[in-house]
Amino acid sequence: MSEKAIIQVKNLTKKFNGFSAVDNISFEVQKGEIFAFLGPNGAGKSTTIKMLTTLLSPTDGKMLINGYNPVDEQNEVRSSFGIVFQDPSLDDELTAYENMEFHAVLYSLPSKIRKARIEELLKIVELWERRKSLVKTFSGGMKRRLEIARGILHHPKILFLDEPTLGLDPQTRNYIWSYIKNLNQKEDVTVFFTTHYMDEAEKIAQRIAIIDHGKIIASGTGNRLKIQTKTDSLEDAFLTLTGRSLREEDASALDHMRMRRRVWGR
């Protein structure tokens, strides 16, 4: 394993009742890099992120996040990263500012720098004017921006983004990525994101790992993947590697809850 790698994963496996959601994967992410995990729904992307971020314990394998082990050095690992989840995790009944403040307290950001830091970040994501509005009045794009600002608030070394642009329109998606790229440079934060949009992975990420059925089937720069599969676009490369484009799955309990959330708006 190299010195510069900020995320090191070796032979990571997660089994649910005998079914391998993540099957013996190994990869490294270098410091300062933007790294994409590309794969169809149910490929094991979110499960991997959950293990890296201490939410789920692995069945087998080794991980190091910023030099710490997510299994038995949880606090050190948790201080090292920020995360934007696939499903929103803001408090709708609180204002944008209160959400940020809450995060600052949870991560023990000294109160002296708290205010200035929150202001700085809310300005970067262009929400400073709306800081006193309740989050429930925000659009999907605004919520995402706020979550990104919040994720970076405590100066993490790594920012995890689980499908950060899912359900957003193309303009908003572009905006979100420009903020993320900006933060990647300004804050010197390593970005690890999952997506199933090929164009995003190709445009944004310096390196891509393609995951399917819990296995990493290829990794490298977008160009290398195209050369490897002798295709012109990453989309073709992806299809060549995964074999098919459409994936039908049974709805999980989580999908049921997502559905209810859409219907009842809560």
Binding site: K50, S89, E93, V105, Y107, R260
Partner: protein
């Protein structure tokens, strides 16, 4: 410590901002109080047991706290997937602090709701027998709230989705309420029912509240206090343990 405080504060902020929810959640206790209180009043009076509204009010206060507490604990099912809780689960804060902050917040809200119902019952004609024992009533309200918020948290930590919610409501929460003696006196019950009620922890809460508010007790207030105190501690421990095991 900061994390506990801010989680508690968050619950209170949410509560104070949702006026519609506060008013809405008072509808059911009010209906119980008016319909049952005045509906069964005459029969109760004829049986020579006294004023039913007076007897019923502590039960309805307990009911309000029970439902508010369990709901707020069980909100975690939702919260761990779509809410704010997920954000706290990846924060560098011990899980037990998160559980405590949330539970204390939920219990505070439930206690406030109980106080509101008690205040409203005054409009219906209820009077506290001895005002100097109000602090005791408050203690019992807090103990009920703590126990059942922790209970809801424990259950929510195990359940993955809302499918199990109805099951818990119908087979645990409703029996807890109906068998607690909130609606009827525990004296002279058929033997089997009598035994079941002594196993219902809420019965001790209702009894304690009744003792403090109208000076009528069945088990004795010290017994009530001890049972509830042990229950609250045990449920907080169990809740914390299960909460710390949450995997998403």
């Amino acid at each position: 410590m900061n994390a506990i405080y801010i989680l508690w504060l968050r619950q209170l902020k949410r509560y104070s901002r949702s006026r519609a929810r506060i008013v809405g959640s008072l509808g059911q206790p009010l209906l119980f109080l008016v319909a049952l209180g005045f509906g069964f009043g005459p029969v109760f009076q004829k049986a020579g047991v006294g004023n039913y509204l007076e007897f019923l009010t502590p039960g309805i206060v307990a009911m309000t706290i029970l439902f508010t507490s369990v709901f707020s604990g069980m909100e975690i099912i939702w919260d761990k997937q779509f809410g704010f809780l997920k954000e706290t689960l990846v924060a560098p804060v011990p899980r037990i602090n998160i559980m405590l902050g949330r539970t204390l917040g939920g219990a505070t809200v439930a206690t406030l709701q109980g106080c509101l119902v008690l205040a409203i019952s005054y409009v219906a004609g209820f009077r506290v027998v001895n005002l100097s024992s109000l602090p005791f009533a408050f203690i019992f309200m807090v103990l009920i709230a703590l126990s059942f918020t922790a209970f809801g948290t424990a259950i929510a930590s195990i359940l993955d989705d809302m499918q199990g919610f109805q099951l818990i409501m119908n087979f645990l929460v409703m029996p807890l309420f109906f068998l607690s003696g909130a609606l009827f006196p525990l004296e002279g019950l058929p033997k089997a029912l009598g035994i079941v009620t002594t196993l219902d922890p809420l019965a001790y809460g209702v009894d304690g509240l009744r003792g403090a508010l109208i000076g009528v007790v069945h088990f004795g207030m010290l017994t009530d206090f001890l049972v509830l105190g042990v229950l609250a501690s045990a449920l907080l421990l169990i809740g914390s343990f299960l909460f710390s095991k949450i995997q998403i």
